[in-house]
Every structure is written in C-alpha cells, then in structure tokens.
C-alpha cells in the first residue's frame, strides 16, 4: 500500500515535469512568434518620438501605406521562393524591366489600356519562369541565376531610359490608385497567398522541398516543377507591383525598382522567416517583416537620414538580425 502510494506520487511528479517541459517549449515558440510584433511597435514608437510625431501625421501614414503596399505584395510572392530554400536577387530589376516594357508599349500605343495590368504581370511571370527554369535545368544556384537576371534586366532598363526617362499619361490610370482599390488588391493578394500557401499543394510542397529536397522527391513531388512555379509566383507579384508604382508615378527611370530585392530580403528576415525555408515558413512573418521595413525606411527619412545612407543602415540592421537569429549548430537562419 505504502509502496504503491510512493509510486503513484512519483508518477504524478513525472507527469508534472513533462507538462512543464511541454509548456516551456510552447512558450518559447510563442515568444518567437511575438517578437516581430514588438519590433514593429518599438520602431513605430521610436520614430514617433525622434520625429516629434511627424511619422504619425495623416499624410505620412498615407506614405507608409503606399510603401507597405508594394513590399507586402512582393513579400507574399517571395514566401513561395524563400519557403523552398530559394532566393531571388532580381526583384527590383524585374520591376524596372516590367515598367519599361509596359511604358514603351503604352507610348507606342501598342496596347489598349485594359491590357496594361495583365502585360505587366506577364513580364514579371515570364522573367520568374526564366530564372526558375535556368536554375533547375542547369543546376546553378538560384542566387547566381537571379543575380544574372538582375544584370540583364537592369541593362535593358538603362538602355531604354538612357536618352530620357519614360513618361506615361498616368491620369488614364488614376482609378487604380484610389486608396480603396489598392486596399482591395492588397487584401486579395494576401488572401490568395495565404490560402495557396497554407491550404493547397503548392505551399505544402514548397515547404517540403525547403525541409528536405530528397524526401520531397521520394514522396512524389515534382521538385523542379514546383521550384519554377515558385519563381513564377514571385515574378507575378513583382509585375503587379510594377503596374501600380508605374501608374502612380507615371515615370520610368534608370533607377526604378533599384534596391527593392534587399527590402524584400530584409522583410523576410525581420519577420522571423527562416531563410532556409521549410516547415516554419509563414505568410504572416513575411507580412510583418514587410510592414517593419516600410516603417523603418520611412522613419529614417523623416528623421533626417540622408537617403543615400539608408541602404547602409538597412545593411547593418540586416546583419544584426541574421546574427541574432542564426542557429549556429544547425547552420540555419532562424529556426
């Protein structure tokens, strides 16, 4: 009787310790999910204080909205690439390319107004396809292929705008730049991205490829096909964003889109998204990261930082975040 009592007590203790351990792990997981939120709140408050509230003025909030719009949409597209362990360094250049192609077609009167949006998306998708297809067929790392794609696209944009910047009659498209329309587009992209990533084969397969390419292949996934598809999805979001920024500003210059890929990369890392991809990839991380980048860029400008130095600051920040989230033992970023 006594012996049994002791045993039961020991067992109870065992269960308690086990539960504590599980709770501890859960807490750790939750904490890593909350940190990006704190990041946003921190920089919002920080910039509100140092700019004496300027960052929170209605006109500036509108600015932040506009900047977040582009970064969020492309970050959603980028989730498909980064989740399978890929990388795309051509995002900004492709935005430029897409703008140049569309602007030239408009200026030559070659396409009717309603075709502008589809063509813009098409250019992005085709470049994404090219990057992905070269990557999987000749086996060159996506990082390298996309860098080459960046030089090619930048070259085309510079050539086309070398004589003078291209101006389009942007009043024709003022409909698209109404706040409500953009909000609807943004929510649509997030919604479709979320469902495609979380509840369809596409997202699940890409996460599996990011987790283990060999296992994915042996489990019946056409690794090459889905890899190419990921770059096409990212490309299409770049094309979409290029349409909106072209019709908002009405101009394409040699610097259109410059440095955009680093904003995306920073957004991905700041949101706590694992750069190695895999099971922990989440759309929400990318969106949070995108908003953080937008607020950060905007805040730095209003604070009076030289625009030329902002990229430098972002670079330093990027390094710090990667350092903090790098899990040395596994050689993984953010786990």
């Amino acid at each position: 009787m006594d012996g049994n009592g002791v045993l039961a007590k020991e067992r109870e203790e065992e269960v308690m310790i086990q539960e504590q351990l599980i709770a501890k792990t859960r807490k750790k997981e939750k904490l890593s999910m909350i940190i990006p939120f704190f990041g946003i709140i921190f920089i919002t408050v920080f910039f509100a204080i140092v700019t004496k509230g300027n960052t929170l003025s209605p006109s500036n909030l509108n600015n932040i909205m506009n900047q977040s719009f582009s970064i969020i949409i492309v970050a959603v597209g980028a989730v498909f690439v980064y989740s399978h362990g890929g990388m795309d360094m051509s995002v900004g250049a492709v935005q430029g390319l897409s703008s140049v192609v569309v602007a030239s077609l408009i200026l030559q009167g070659a396409i009717p107004g309603w075709m502008v949006l589809p063509v813009s998306i098409l250019v992005g998708t085709v470049t994404g396809f090219t990057t992905g297809a070269i990557h999987v067929t000749i086996g060159v790392p996506a990082f390298v292929v996309s860098l080459c794609m960046r030089y090619i696209a930048t070259g085309i944009t510079r050539t086309a705008t070398s004589a003078k910047d291209l101006y389009i009659p942007y009043n024709d498209f003022s409909f698209w730049n109404k706040g409500m329309i953009k909000l609807v587009v943004l929510l649509l992209v997030i919604g479709i991205g979320y469902i495609a990533f979380k509840y369809t084969r596409v997202g699940k397969y890409l996460k599996a490829i990011g987790g283990n390419k060999i296992t994915a292949g042996q489990s019946g996934i056409n690794v090459k096909k889905y890899t190419v598809l990921a770059y096409m999805i990212l490309g299409s979001t770049v094309g979409l964003v290029s349409f909106f920024s072209l019709t908002r500003t009405g101009v394409v210059s040699s610097s259109t889109g410059q440095g955009f890929e680093l904003d995306i990369l920073t957004a991905i890392v700041l949101g706590g998204f694992p750069l190695s991809g895999g099971a922990k990839s989440k759309i929400s991380s990318a969106i949070l990261g995108a908003i953080t980048v937008a607020i950060l860029t905007n805040g730095l400008i209003l604070w009076g930082a030289d625009p030329n130095i902002i990229n430098g600051i972002k670079g330093v920040l990027f390094l710090i975040i990667v350092y903090l989230s790098y899990e040395r033992r596994k050689g993984e970023v953010v786990s």
Binding site: I22, N212, I214, A279
Partner: protein, 500 residues
C-alpha cells in the same frame, strides 16, 4: 581484486525541448570493464554516451574521470583527455582523404609554421590503420571511394589513434559486416587486457552477451538495472528494456511461403550506371520478396530503380496490372507504390517538419478537395497513422527530429500505409531499430501480406530475411546468385556462401 573506478556519472539530467532524454542517471565504469548499454530507441543511451564523449552537455549532474572531475569542452577535448567515441551515424566527412578524416581537428601536430606535412600525416594514419588491422586502406585515398563499412572502420581508427582509456562504441556494428566486427571485437579485447574500459551500445543482444562483462539497461531516460555477466539472459534484457513481457512471435510463424500467382511488379533486364546489370525480378501479389547480400552488392540500387528514383539505362520497370512503366517516383506513387529509404534521416523524413506534415506528404493529392487541403483532413490521416503505428509523441504536431529512431521509422511507415500503397519497397526497414519496434514492424508486414499487398524487402540482416520472406534473392556484384524459397531449415550459413 579491487576494481578501480575509471569513469563515473552522477545524477545526469538532460532534456531536448519537451522530451526528457535522461533522468538522474548514475553509472560507474571500472578499469578493464566492457560495459554494454542497452535500451529501446529513445531510452537515452546515445544521449548518455554523447554526454560522456563531450558532444553534448548535461543539464544537471557531474562526471568523474580517473577520480577527477571531468568537464569536456567538446568531443575533441574529451578525446584529448582520453575518452573517444565512434558514433552511430556516418561520421566521416566526404571530399577529403582518409588521413584527413582520421586527424580531423588535430592537424596541428603535423604542421610546421602553418604548413601541413601531408606525408607525415599519411604515415601516422597508415600506422594506426595497420595497428587496428586494416593495412589495405590507403590513407591518401579520398574517403568517398570507400564503402560504408570501411568508412566506419576509418572512424574507429580516428577514435583509437589517441589511445583512449575509455572507448565508446555507439551502434557501430549495425554498419559492419564480419570483417569490421572481428576487427572491433579484437580492439575491445585489447582494451580489456590493457585495463582500459569500453562503453558498448548495440541492439544485438547476442553480441552484447558475448562481448560485455556487464550490461546497463536504460528505459525512457531512467537507469533500470545493471546486470552482471552471470545474470544476463536475452529474455531478461528484453523484458527490462521494454518494461513488459514480449508476447507472440518475433517473425511470422508460418512456413508456408505461398503467394499470389499474379505478377504485380516486373523488373526486366534493368542496368544502371552503378552496380546493377541486366537485373530482372518479378514481385507477386501478396508476396514478401527478400533481397539480401553485402551492402555494396547492388540490392539498394535495385530498390531505387524499382521506385523510379534512378532510371535504368536499359531495361524497364513495369506494373503489370495497369501496364505502366515506372519512370519516376511520381508515377510510382500514383500507382500505389511506396518506398522506405535505408537512409531515414536524409531521405525518408523531413526532420524539422511535424509528424503530421511527414505522414500526409505523399497523400496530399488524395486529400485535395478541389484545390484545397483542409487541416481537418490532414489531421485525420495523421492521427490515424499515429494510432495505427503507435507512434510515441505528445501530438502529431511534434517535430520529427525530437523522435527516437524507432518512432521516426514508424512515421515513415505511416506515410505509405496512409496513402494505401499496394506495393512497398522497404530498404533496410529495421536498421537501427530496437526489438519492441522491430516486432511491430514484422507484424505489420505480415498483416500487409495477408491483405494481398506486395513487399520487396531489401535487408542486410539475414535473420530478418529468413524470418519474413516468402522468397529470398541473394545478390553479389549486381547479379542474383541464388534464390531460396521459404523454409524452416534455411540457415544463415546456407546463404552466406552465396553472398561473399
């Protein structure tokens, strides 16, 4: 004779996330002792040994080595202090030479003002390789040129060159054939005679009985008992490991060996770039067809070809019923084939994904409703797999890298049972798995056979081939040497002659 304690652990605790790997483990190993360490997968034996070897640190507890407190800063440090370990997984680094592998992390001794003397290093490597009995391995050769077994032997050389006083051997013999085993037993005997100590982890209870002086049993991270030589018996060890009596037969009990007439999978004259030449076999409905041989005999490649992972250069793999040629794993899976790779962690599982994600992966097309795959349908399939395979976990959301080897293998099986595969290609299905789980796997295979499913079982373990197969094909150098039918009289010795 007064025994001098060489190594002692006191109250070691260790947990990985929510999994408790070790709970208050204290052991004493004396000079001259060959200590066996047994337990099911996940019992903590590998964790304990890697803490002793300095590869991991304990959450709590102390260790003493030669009477002094012992706090290794890593496995290189432990090795310098006199404790070496040969690990369970492949521990060699590809792309560098045998000698570089042996002296990994200790190259300084061969370098002078920053320049490494390759010839000195090779000479030292040659010396140690000769000492342990493999003068034929050339130290300047790239490690990739060696087969699995010889690479393991190189690891043993790496553990031995510092002349350790405690040698830890973790499941190494699973990867070794006769040559490697003999070599290892000799080393163990030498350690014993030199009054040093060995910690020996193995699933092979017969082997432990013959090699060890005493055996410590772990279960769920707790030290259960330490048996002296005179108390050891296979039954007792099994009972202590599992914590209950094992019921029923280990392998299947019938010797009828019958199977359906219908051929389901037909490999015709397949030749691959590596190891397989003009290979043909026919797998029947309801048949367990075993393929055995040495690890480089080509049988693993046959499995890969059968599932479409490697494409044969000539010849074909055909599913008879639907007249389909298997050209890649997607076609194979669409036609209800499943494949369990021998390399569980690298090929069969996504380690940092959840049990659920892993189980559902090949079944996603089946779960699709329109384009959408709901959480509910995934969870149902995963729960079903967890229940049916009795996977030990606190939730299907638990990540696979927190599971023990046996539980991981159950997840792999659940993948293919879950999508209703009719033909299973199992490459070393019980490699590195303890008795309890093994028995489950054998029962499952037999049940599948009775349901009319077909199994191609590739195995390096003869007892398992003899115990489970309806037919056994023995391969050597990419060719089938001999076919055996199921029989009660069939012995390992009958088969071995055709393998070597």
């Amino acid at each position: 004779m007064i025994k001098e304690c060489l190594l002692e652990t006191k109250g070691i605790y260790k947990s990985f996330g929510p999994t408790r790997a070790l709970v208050d483990v204290s052991i004493q190993v004396c000079r001259g002792e060959i200590r066996g360490l047994i337990g099911e997968n996940g019992s903590g034996k590998s964790t304990l040994s890697s803490i002793v070897a300095g590869a991991q640190t304990a959450d709590k507890g102390e260790m003493f080595f030669k009477g002094e407190q012992y706090l290794p800063k890593g496995n290189v440090d432990a090795q310098k202090q006199g404790i070496s370990m040969v690990v369970q997984e492949m521990g060699t680094i590809p792309g560098i030479t045998v000698a570089s592998n042996i002296f990994l992390g200790n190259l300084n001794q061969f370098s002078k003002s920053g320049i490494l003397s390759i010839s000195k290093m090779n000479k030292a490597a040659k010396k140690i390789l000769t000492e342990i009995g493999v003068p034929e391995i050339n130290p300047s050769m790239f490690i990739d040129k060696l087969n699995f077994e010889d690479r393991k032997i190189v690891e043993i050389a790496r553990a031995m060159y510092t002349e350790p006083e405690v040698l830890i051997i973790d499941e190494t013999t699973t990867a070794l054939a006769q040559k490697g085993r003999t070599l290892l037993y000799k080393l163990i005997d030498k350690m014993h005679k030199e009054n040093k100590a060995v910690l020996f982890i193995s699933h092979d209870l017969d082997e432990l009985m013959s090699v060890c002086n005493n055996i410590t049993v772990l279960r769920d991270g707790n030290l259960i008992d330490t048996l002296e030589k005179e108390d050891m018996s296979i039954d007792k060890m099994r009972r202590l490991m599992v914590g209950r009596e094992l019921k029923g037969n280990y392998y299947r009990s019938d010797y009828d060996g019958s199977y359906g007439k219908e051929v389901v999978l037909d490999i015709r004259q397949a030749t691959t770039g590596v190891n397989v030449e003009n290979f043909s076999l026919q797998l029947h409905k309801g048949e367990i067809l075993g393929i055995g041989g040495l690890s480089d005999c080509g049988m693993h490649e046959v499995g890969r070809v059968a599932f479409g992972i490697d494409k044969p250069l000539t010849g074909e793999v055909k599913l008879i019923k639907d007249d389909v040629l298997i050209s890649n794993p997607q076609v194979a899976i669409r036609n209800k084939m499943g494949y369990v790779s021998k390399d569980r962690d690298k090929e069969a599982l996504i380690l940092n994904a959840s049990i659920k994600d892993n189980i559902t992966l090949p079944s996603l097309p089946i779960l699709e409703n329109g384009f959408i795959i709901t959480n509910k349908s995934e969870s149902e399939l995963a729960n079903q797999g967890v229940d049916q395979m009795e996977i030990k976990c606190y939730s299907p959301e638990q990540r696979c890298n927190e599971l023990s080897g046996g539980n991981k293998q159950k997840v792999v099986f659940a993948k293919w049972i879950g999508n209703g595969s009719d033909i299973l290609i199992l490459d070393c299905p019980t490699r590195g798995i303890d008795v309890g789980v093994k028995a489950n796997m054998y029962q499952l295979m037999y049940q599948l056979k009775k349901e009319g499913k077909s199994i191609l079982m590739i195995s390096e373990e003869l007892p398992e081939l003899i115990g489970m197969s309806d037919r056994i094909l023995i391969m050597k150098d990419g060719l089938i040497q001999k076919e055996f039918a199921r029989s009660e009289e069939l012995s390992e010795q009958d088969i071995i002659d055709y393998m070597i």
